[in-house]
Every structure is written in C-alpha cells, then in structure tokens.
C-alpha cells in the first residue's frame, strides 16, 4: 500500500473541506484532502445557490444571522467571481402575516443587516413576475453563489499552496493510536487501490457523513440527522433577484436566480441515510405550489430538474441535544466538536452543522482549534486573502460573476469554434481543455465543471457529441464511451423523471427519440 505523510488530513471535499484545506494551507500546513467522490458532489453541489444575507435567520437564529452578515461580505471580497450580486427581496405573500415584517426589520437592526422596506410597487417593478398580491417587501444583500466554482477555487488555491486533493478517495478507516487519530486508510474508488495517510492531525469536514467518520475513531454518541431538502431548477430566470418569503423559515420559501436557472427550495425532511434521499411526488407538488405563491403561473413554467440535498444537522448526546422532532429546529450555527474534551481523543476535530455561506468562518474555527491543540500560533488570513480565480473567470467590471459572460465569450469565438452544449454555451475547446485539466473520462465530472448537459435539453444533444469527442481524442475507448454515455443518460434521468410534465416532458420524449429511435443506445455494443 502506498503511503502519504502530511500535517493535516481533511476528510470531505465539499465547501467546508475545501475551505479548511485552503485555510490550513494558507497557514503553512501540508494538507491532504480526501473525498470519496468528486469535489462538491455531496451537499455543497446540491443546494439552491443562495449566499445568505442573514435575513432568513434574523428572527429565529440571530447568531447565525450575524455570522451570515459578516461572511456574506467576506465571500464577496475573496471569491467575487463565484458570486452574482443579485440582491434579495423578502416579500409578504397573501398567505403570510404582515406583522412578521416588523419583527424582521427589528431583527435586521439587531444583527446589523442592511434590510430596508420598499414599496410593493417598487418590488414589482424590480421583479414583474412576482405575485402582485404581496403586501410588504424588503431588500437585503442576498446573492447567488456557484458552489462548484467556489469549492474548486478553494481546492485550486489550496493546491497552489501544496495541498494534495484526492478525489474519489474514500476513507475506509481511521488510524487511532493511543489517544489520538494518526491518519486514515483511503481507497481509490475508481481503481480500488488503497492508500495510507499518516497525518499529524485529522479534520473531519464530511458534513452529513461526519458521524460515519467519527465512528471510525471508536467514538459513540454523535449523530447526524440528514435533513433532506429538495430543490427544483426552473428553465430560466423567473426572477433576477433572490426572493424569500417573509415568514419564519418554512418549506418552499425561496427562489434563487443562479446562472441561467432559478431554483426553488426547499423542504426539510428527516432522512434515515444521507445516501438515500429519493424525491417524492408530494414534495414536488409542494414545491410547485410554493412557487406559485411567489410567482403566479409558476406551474406553467418549465421545470428542468429536481434534486435533493442533505443538511448536516448535528446531534450530540453528550451536549444534551436529544432527539429533535423537526430538523428545522436543530441549530443552523456550526460548532467544532472537540474530541479531546468530549472523548479523550486528540489530533481529531469534527465540524458540525453550518452552511455554505459561513464556510470560511467554519474553516477558520476548526483550524484555530487545531492550532490551539498543537500549540501553534498561526493566525487565520482567509478573510483578507482573495482566492485565486480560475482561468475561466466570468467576472464583469465589479469582479462579480455576470450572467451574460458565456454569451460574450461565445460571441468572441463564434466564427472559430463548435458549440457542443448549446444550452449552456460550451464550446469544443473548453470541453477538451476541461477533460485534460481534470484528468477525467467521466462525463458527469465534466458536467459539474462546465454545466455540460444541465440546460433545457438535459444532454439530449450534447451527450452524444461529448462522448464522440472524448472517444475521438483517445480519452475513452469504445467500451468506456458506451458506459459513460449510458451512465450519463441514467444520471440525467434520475433528476428529471419526477418533474416530467409540460415542456420538460416534451423534451424528454424528444431525447428518447434521439437516444432510442435514432441512436439506439440501448443496443449499442
């Protein structure tokens, strides 16, 4: 078995893990990050894309709100190209209590959140499709953030400081020696090879899967309730501002414009297993009804895709959390679980709870805790260090991501290049370059990098093209090409069949025609 030595092993390649790797690398530690799948393939890649202003929490969870207020501003500075400055609205729909708006404003003042009430007419001018029956409206500095891009930027930043990012490496066991965790045994999920990591410190940033890792250290009494949330991406931007219902946090209370789509979210349902989170018909219906409340005729608009994510809602029996009935009542603030104090196990810390907006603070807290345990004085600098932007920065003048950027880029190469994914405007050279850079032959990995196949046709036209190109440039042999194509079809199907109605059903049937009637993928060798 091959062996790696490192100062810090970070378990989990979501937003938290990537943030931790970046933070630790910036403080001069040698870092190895391991994820059982691709980066941001768990909760981070399955959220609605909201960069919280904090407005969602001002009444119910002021601590979380204050964290959001601060971190929202920090992320805008350090990863501006991952953020679109959409602004946000809280609106009182006809079904909501207008009095909540007063508590909301009070909460904003108490948490330094710049929330302001505006005329309903003004809100409707900003967002003409909004329910004209809304009774109050407030502006907040919500934004949308591309989680994949953020995680990759952090991981790339860490790697530029020497960190080794091991995707598709699952932790199969932790090494515990005496009263400390000393590393882990990893298995490469693609090749089956095992790898031994000797780590000076192990940071558990595996979110909804954290309890499984903790258990490997022989520690009991820690649980994670996977809080399932479903989200539906609508075909285009029904709104261009984040729209929240001005109520206590509830289901289906937010519509986020991100990239070319708008995402309605979300539910919060206790799940048994973070890897088993099927979408049910009732949940889809509920989301659509909730969408209708914010934007009339929402049900007539085209739904592209539905998916579920799991929130890492932490339960610590020793901390007296007990059994929460509603997962929404479990705190959304994060905490570092100190396994020395709790379990007499050293060189091992677990991050509990949290949310993407506060990823940087979470990383700071856990790396600070590690430094304390190690007796190192290495201050955190992530709040003031911009994360290096990727080579494909889409920033506009003020540094933020701009929706029109791909269209602008395409316009510049219109006469020179083939367009492979027409929905998300991905040219051939970017596809080939991404294949090389990511070193992957998996179309689904490429999808997450480029949004390949994530537009209206859900791969109907581009999957065949991408497969042909991958095969043609010799990155896939025939066998791999066939299984990659079939695998991608199945992956796409998973996210569309529960929302197949209206336009998207027509699309799915046209795609069937292509894959079954024209190409006959089913009987492909």
């Amino acid at each position: 078995m091959a062996t790696l030595e490192t100062d810090v092993l970070v378990v989990g390649g979501g937003a938290t893990g990537a943030g931790v790797a970046w933070d630790a690398a910036l403080r001069g530690y040698d870092v190895v990050l391991a994820d059982r799948a691709d980066l941001a393939e768990g909760t981070s890649g399955r959220f609605h894309g909201l960069l919280h202003s904090g407005g969602r929490y001002v009444v119910k969870d002021p601590v979380a709100a204050e964290e959001c207020v601060t971190e929202n501003a920090v992320l805008r500075r350090i990863v501006p190209d991952c953020i679109e400055d959409t602004g946000g609205l809280f609106v009182t729909t006809p079904d909501d209590d207008p009095a909540y708006g007063d508590r909301f404003l009070e909460g904003c003042r108490a948490t330094n959140l710049p929330g302001e009430e505006i005329d309903v007419a003004e809100a409707l001018r900003m967002e003409p499709r909004l329910n004209p029956g809304i009774r109050r409206a407030f502006t907040v500095p919500d934004a949308s953030i591309d989680a994949w891009k953020t995680v990759w930027a952090l991981a790339r930043g860490a790697a530029s400081r020497g960190a080794r990012i091991l995707t598709h490496h699952k932790v199969v066991d932790l090494h515990v020696a005496g009263e400390a965790v000393t590393g882990a045994r990893l298995r490469n999920e693609l090749t089956g090879e095992e790898l031994d990591v000797q780590a000076g410190f192990t940071l558990n940033a595996s979110g909804a899967w954290a309890a499984q890792i903790v258990k490997m250290a022989g520690i009991g009494g820690v649980g994670v309730i996977p809080g399932k949330g479903i989200m539906i991406a609508m075909n285009h931007r029904l709104v261009n501002t984040v729209v929240n219902r001005c109520t206590m946090p509830a289901d289906g209370d937010i519509l986020v414009p991100i990239r070319t789509v708008s995402v309605i979210g979300t539910t919060d349902i206790r799940a048994a297993d973070p890897d088993e989170i099927p979408v049910t018909q009732d949940e889809v219906d509920q989301m659509l009804d909730d969408g209708e409340r914010l934007v009339p005729s929402f049900r007539d608009a085209r739904a592209l895709r539905v998916w579920a994510g799991v929130r890492p809602l932490f339960q610590d029996e020793k901390a007296g959390d007990g059994e929460a009935v509603d997962t929404r009542d479990v705190t959304r603030a994060h905490a570092v679980v100190d396994h020395v104090a709790r379990d007499d196990i050293g060189r091992f810390l677990t991050m509990s709870g949290g949310k993407l907006t506060t990823l940087r603070l979470m990383a700071q807290d856990i790396v600070d805790a590690m430094c304390r345990q190690l007796g190192h004085d290495r201050p955190c600098t992530t709040a003031t260090t911009p994360v290096p932007a990727g080579g494909d920065s889409h920033a506009n003048g003020n540094g933020y991501y701009h929706l029109g950027s791909r269209l602008r880029r395409r316009e510049a190469t219109l006469q020179d290049e083939q367009l492979i994914c027409e929905c998300e405007l991905i040219g051939r050279s970017r596809l080939e370059e991404t294949m090389r850079r990511r070193g992957t032959t998996n179309l689904d990995d490429i999808r997450r990098s480029l949004r390949l196949g994530m537009g209206p046709c859900q791969g109907g036209f581009c999957i065949y093209r991408a497969t042909g190109i991958l095969h043609g440039v010799g990155r896939l042999d025939g066998d791999e090409a066939s299984s990659s194509l079939r695998g991608f079809l199945q992956e796409r199907w998973k996210g569309v069949w529960p929302i197949l109605y209206g336009d998207q059903l027509r699309q799915a049937r046209l795609d069937d025609w292509i894959f079954q009637g024209l190409l006959d993928v089913e009987h492909m060798p």
């Binding site: 659509l288 042909g468 209206g502 027509r506 079954q516 009637g517 024209l518 006959d520």
Partner: protein, 418 residues
C-alpha cells in the same frame, strides 16, 4: 370560416401522408399545423417493428403478435403493406429499399445495429446482416456524427471497421450542421474533393459509411456519384437532428401535397373542436392573436405525441390531447407511478395516447381519425416502430375516409339529438 372535405391537423409523416393521399384521392384538404413536423428530426428510416421485445427479423410476421391495443391492430399487415407501397411510389425521386419480409440492420451513429423495414436507397448498403468491412468517413467539423466512435463500436460488435476523418470545412464555417454539409455536397467540386481525399485510402473490400449529409438539392446525386467514383457500396448513417434524409422526404411529400392542391396553414394551433352529436363539425385554431374556425366533414388528427406537443401532461399530472380534447388513455393518474427510476425501464407512461378502434376513430366520434404518435399502445422509439406507425396509420386514415366518401357522398352533419 372555410369548409373542407377533410382537415388534417399536423404535418409530420402521418399528417403529410394522410393529407397527400386524401388530396390525390380527390378530397379538398386543409392542413393545419403549429409548425413544421418531425420529419426534419428523425432518420426517416421506416422502422415498422424492430423489437417485440426481442429483436424482430420478420416485421410482417411480428405485426400480428403486437396485440389489440397496438396501433398496428387498426391497420393490419395489409394496411401496412399498402402504405409502404404507396410511400415507395411517392418517394420515386428518393427511392426506398426494403419491405415487410425482412428487417435490414443498419448501424446508427453510435454503432448499434438497428432494425428497419424500409430505408432510403442511400442507406441501404449499410445493411450489415451479412457483415462486411466498413470504413466510416467523418468530418471533424461535423459535431453531430463521430466516425471513430461508430467504427470502434462496430468493431466491438465483430464487424471489421475503421474510421477516416476529413478536415474539409464547408462554407468556411467552424460550426456547421448536417444541412450545411448537405449543401456542400450539392456542389460537384466538394464531392470531387471528398472523393480525392478517399481514393488512395480505401481497402479493397471496404464499403463506405458517410454521415447522412450527401446532398439536399438532389437527394441521390452525391451518393450515386461517390459510389461510382469510389467503385464500392456507399451508405449514409443518420446524424443528430437536423435530419437531411428527413428534409428530403419532407420536400417530396410537401411537393406532392402542393400538386394535389391541398391548402396548408402553418402557425394555426388547433385547440378545440366544435361538436354536433357524434361528429366534429369544425375546429378552432389560434392564429397569432386570433381564433379562426374551419369546418370539415372529416378530421384527421396527426399532431404527434408528447414529444411534438400533440399530447400534454400538466403539472398536476393530468394528460390531455391538445387539439380536439380527446381522452388520453394509459396515462397514470395523479399519485400513480408514471416513470420508473431506470432510464431503460418499462415506464407506465410509455404507451399513453389516444385509444382508437379498428377504424382509427376514438370512441364516440364518427368523423375523426387519429394517426401517428398520438395513438396509444405503442412505445415507438423503444420498439422501433415510430415512422412505421405514422406512415401506415396516416395512410390508413386517408384510405378509410376516401372509402367512405366513395360509398356515400358527404352529408350535412347530423343534428344533435335532444
């Protein structure tokens, strides 16, 4: 409002066939369609039945085994044969090969061998039932056809195959679709250039596969020239849409319709029917911001299925037929399972459509006939029966109407009984 002997709704293969046959049979025909139909998208191979569920070798024989609920039950083998005969006659400028006796096995662009009953002559040499050496010619500028993938998969299926990729770029375009290549192949100079690039590179026994882009102005000119110049069988393999063979077929059927004197109105979205007893006396069509009524003795509904928008499922999971409001059968109701989790599973929604009797009429309507993908009971793309159903039911609908017209001159619509 106008009044016609027959209104055909839809201009896909089913609608065009029904309309052309009706018009040449002497009926005054009005064709109403939302837009251009699916001929532009599909390969235009007449797949009658390819899987049931095992691969079918003799489609004519397999028809009987499909059951009463299948659209072919209303057509019968003779009906399918008659439709094919008619179609092959109409397609004289772009001759078709094959029939109901045996399915041909033609490679698709991913190298699957797909069973088809009748195919354009330009594709026929791709019948690989007996094997054979294949050289697949691709164009790097054509993103909708990948020669190496096709060749590699053929080789994996035991058919000696290799790919040759050419760097010719028609019209100086970096991004050119099948139609752009087809226009290029219309030019003799381009054909010569392609032939020149290939001449020295071919094995003795290799037949040549090209993407189905060999010309659009003359449907067979480029194909036959390449075959002759390179002295070997040449065949086309359908690409992703747009479909050049489909456009050839569309042009021929459209011209046939024009000559037969049918009126065609695009952008007329039929959304309601005017009924009197068991008859539809007219249809309502939305045209721009207006609503227009058209009267007719007969209506052929050929609007397609869920893919074309002839059938719709709304977000409350209610299925409807959009033009005449006919009941949709086989669609699971709200709360019932519509689709399964595996893409290639047998989906409960798969066979939903408008159910008809043996005369293609939906229950309770005397003068409406349904043709094509609107019909319930088939899984056209799974079982490879799409264009076969469209052609044969469209043809059958026209024959039934012409037969009735011959038997009894059209009468005034019966008054609804009190």
């Amino acid at each position: 409002m106008s009044h016609h002997d027959a209104i055909v709704v839809g201009v896909g293969l089913a609608g065009l066939t029904a309309a052309a046959r009706l018009a040449e049979g002497g009926a005054r025909v009005l064709v109403l369609a939302k837009g251009v139909g699916a001929t532009h998208l599909g390969p235009c191979t007449i797949d009658v039945i390819g899987y049931a569920p095992e691969r079918v070798e003799r489609p004519g024989e397999a028809l009987a085994g499909l059951g009463d609920g299948h659209p072919y039950a209303a057509v019968g083998r003779d009906g399918v044969q008659a439709a094919l005969d008619w179609f092959k006659g109409v397609m004289a400028p772009y001759p078709y090969v094959g029939g109901l006796e045996e399915n041909l096995l033609l490679p698709t662009a991913v190298g699957a061998l797909k069973p088809s009953a009748a195919v354009p002559g330009t594709m026929a040499a791709g019948d690989l039932r007996e094997g054979g050496e294949v050289c697949v010619v691709g164009f790097r500028a054509l993103k909708d056809f990948h020669a190496t993938l096709l060749a590699d998969n053929l080789a994996r299926a035991g058919i000696p195959a290799r790919a040759v990729e050419l760097d010719l770029v028609p019209e100086g375009r970096a991004d050119v679709n099948s139609l752009g290549f087809a226009r290029a192949f219309d030019a003799p100079a381009f054909r010569s250039e392609v032939a020149a690039h290939l001449t020295a590179r071919l094995g003795r026994d290799e037949r040549l596969a090209f993407p189905a882009v060999l010309g659009i102005a003359g449907p067979t000119a480029a194909w036959s020239e390449l075959r002759d110049r390179l002295a070997r069988p040449v065949f086309e393999v359908p690409t992703l849409p747009p479909s050049v063979p489909g456009m050839r077929v569309f042009a021929i059927l459209r011209e046939r319709l024009r000559r037969a004197g049918a009126r065609v109105i695009l952008n007329a979205v039929v959304h309601d029917a005017e009924r009197s007893g068991g008859r539809v006396t007219g249809v309502q069509a939305r045209v721009g911001l207006r609503d227009v009524r058209h009267g007719a003795d007969w209506v052929v509904l050929a609007t397609g299925g869920f893919a074309s928008g002839g059938l719709e499922l709304d977000s409350r999971w209610r299925a409807r037929e959009v033009a005449l409001g006919l009941p949709v059968s086989g669609a699971p109701g709200p709360g019932e399972e519509r689709f399964r989790a595996g893409y290639f599973d047998d989906h409960p929604m798969g066979r939903a459509g408008v159910r008809v009797g043996r005369d293609l009429r939906p229950e309770g309507l005397d003068n409406v006939l349904v043709a094509g993908a609107t019909l319930a009971g088939a899984q056209p793309w799974r079982e490879k029966s799409g264009d076969g159903i469209s052609l044969s039911t469209g043809h059958r609908a026209a024959e039934l109407i012409l037969g009735q017209r011959a038997a009894a001159p059209p009468t005034e619509p019966a008054k609804a009984e009190a």
